[in-house]
């Protein structure tokens, strides 16, 4: 290929496309791990406040969950943006749907990040007010 003079580089769409591949590959690992720990090895009956608190005493699992939150949410949001690009053509509706998507995404991302970063695990079940 002979790219003359100025090279077309970057651009949001290129980045978004690349991000879908990279986040997809990383999500395979993270989501499989998440499913195994939270739904297979431990069942939902065993998972309680203490279980989560214990897990989040380790910075490793906080990082794990934070990375998974950001990748899955941004991946899903961008996927929905592509679906909107497919089916919503009227300008007014595009503005409405894309704005709603951005707002929901921002709120979920902020809330999730805040909880993962600021959650303070109590030293024991008793201090958490649990029997």
């Amino acid at each position: 290929m002979y790219v003359g003079r100025e090279r077309p580089t970057g651009g949001f769409e290129l980045f978004a496309w690349f991000f879908m591949r990279i986040s997809g590959v990383v999500l395979i690992l993270l989501v499989l791990g998440h499913l195994a720990i939270m739904h297979v090895i431990n069942t939902v009956d065993e998972i309680d406040f203490e279980f989560v608190a214990a897990r989040w005493r380790s910075p490793f699992w906080r990082t794990y969950d934070l990375v998974m939150l950001w990748l899955a949410l941004l991946h899903g949001l961008n996927g929905l943006r592509m679906v909107i690009d497919d089916y919503v053509h009227r300008k007014g509706w595009r503005v409405v749907t894309l704005t709603a998507l951005a707002l929901v995404g921002f709120v979920l991302l902020t809330m999730g990040t805040q909880i993962i970063l600021t959650f303070e695990a109590p030293a024991s079940r008793a201090t958490a007010g649990l029997p």
Partner: protein, 232 residues
């Protein structure tokens, strides 16, 4: 051999919506669908409208939906299809009449990728030379006849008709990877857009539809890769 030709017809001046018309025709098994259509037009119903020019698979005029797949009417033999043949206009284009669709938008996108040699270096005394290997690099995409079978088989295009579509990308590929050409950057800039090459979801319908056997999805992937690696 007697076949029933079921054709989706529409005359916007008369009909409110498309309807199916059936014609019984006697054909040889080795006749093509185009022969059957011509029989209908010449002997049964002169109002039937369809395009064809070369009748030999090279002008790209008669792509249509035949038994649910995009084919050239001049390249499909009746015996491959059986006794009932359904024919519809290409999907995703406005219908002008019967099987004739409006391809203005399609060709506008083709023109947008600058489908001609761009090179303002002084021309050499004889010719711009190219090795067989350099020629082979884009051989596959030189085969396009602009019949629109690929673009109108693409779900991304059906959903959003502003998507530039596989045919335009194939023709951009033909010049982007031509060693004599210097316009790759201009073409890649056109394709690096929301409705450009990134709309492709790697669905492969285009590969199945192409009557020339072009590996369309591969060509699109090569263009994506060229964009990606020139920015990494």
């Amino acid at each position: 051999m007697r076949v029933v030709l079921k054709i989706k017809r529409f005359n916007p001046e008369r009909d409110r919506e498309p309807y199916w018309a059936e014609y019984e025709v006697d054909v040889e098994p080795v006749d093509r669908v185009l022969d059957a259509l011509e029989y209908v037009k010449w002997h049964l119903d002169g109002t039937l409208a369809f395009r064809r020019s070369c009748a030999h698979g090279i002008c790209g005029s008669d792509a249509m939906l035949i038994n649910g797949r995009n084919r050239l009417a001049c390249k499909v033999l009746v015996k491959e299809l059986g006794a009932r043949i359904t024919v519809e206009p290409l999907r995703g284009f406005p219908v002008i009449k019967d099987l004739v669709v409006d391809m203005e938008g399609f060709f506008a996108k083709y023109r947008a990728i600058k489908p001609y040699l761009i090179n303002d270096e002084p021309p050499p005394e004889t010719e711009r030379r190219q090795s067989p290997e350099e020629r082979a690099r884009f051989d596959d995409t030189t085969k396009c006849i602009l019949c629109a079978a690929c673009t109108t088989s693409c779900p991304s295009f059906w959903a959003n008709g502003e998507y530039i579509g596989p045919a335009a990308i194939v023709n951009a590929h033909r010049f982007i990877f031509d060693s004599r050409d210097r316009g790759a950057a201009e073409r890649l800039a056109v394709l690096n857009a929301r409705l450009g090459v990134w709309r492709c979801r790697t669905i492969f319908n285009c590969v199945e539809a192409c009557p020339r056997g072009i590996d369309v999805t591969r060509a699109i992937a090569e263009v994506k890769r060229a964009l990606l690696f020139s920015s990494l």
